[in-house]
Amino acid sequence: MIRDDAGEVTSLVGFMFDISERKAREEHIEQLQHTLMALSYQDGLTGVANRRRFDEVLAAEWQKSRETGAPLSLILGDIDCFKSYNDLHGHLQGDDCLKAVAHGLKRIAKRRAILLPVMVGKSSRS
């Protein structure tokens, strides 16, 4: 505010900044964080939920079940003789096999809106 000798306001001085670029950058970073967050809960090969997500969802659902008394079911599945499949067909085809299995199960999980996680590295007996 600029005043004359009598104290009257004669003019207003202001500054304007174009923040659209900064805003776009911030939105981009937010989007990247979102993507990163999603990826950190996903299995890289099959795209289904990973162990981390499974642990978090299971703990939350367990708690909910204890509070409400509603039943909570869990199915654990394991591909039979997968080590032998890998030995026989090679690891690349083993990867394709895992993708096909995940794809087949994903359709069921999606229809029922249930979580389908994949756990990697668990020692398999057969």
């Binding site: 367990w62 039943p71 079911s73 394991d78 003789c81 299995v101």
Partner: protein, 74 residues
């Protein structure tokens, strides 16, 4: 699977088992690729332990595998 009874879970496991058979991956000529499953249900009671719940189902899974594979143990 929240709000899912044991019967529902068993039906779903059977659905999964059949879905894997339907994918039709050849393991060996004699054996198509298969999966085994363990199924368990928590009834929401106090005193139950999550770790024990999961380990119990894991034992069922391996009982299914030891029992001939392509199987479901509840």
């Amino acid at each position: 699977m929240p709000d899912t009874t044991h019967e529902d879970a068993m039906a779903l496991a059977e659905h999964c088992r059949a879905a894997i058979a339907a994918v039709g991956i050849v393991h060996t000529e004699a054996h198509p690729l298969s999966m085994s499953f363990g199924v368990g249900t928590h009834d929401g009671r106090d005193g139950a332990d999550l770790r024990e719940f999961v380990e119990g189902i894991d034992r069922k899974l391996y009982a299914a595998k030891d029992g001939g594979r392509d199987a479901i143990v509840a």
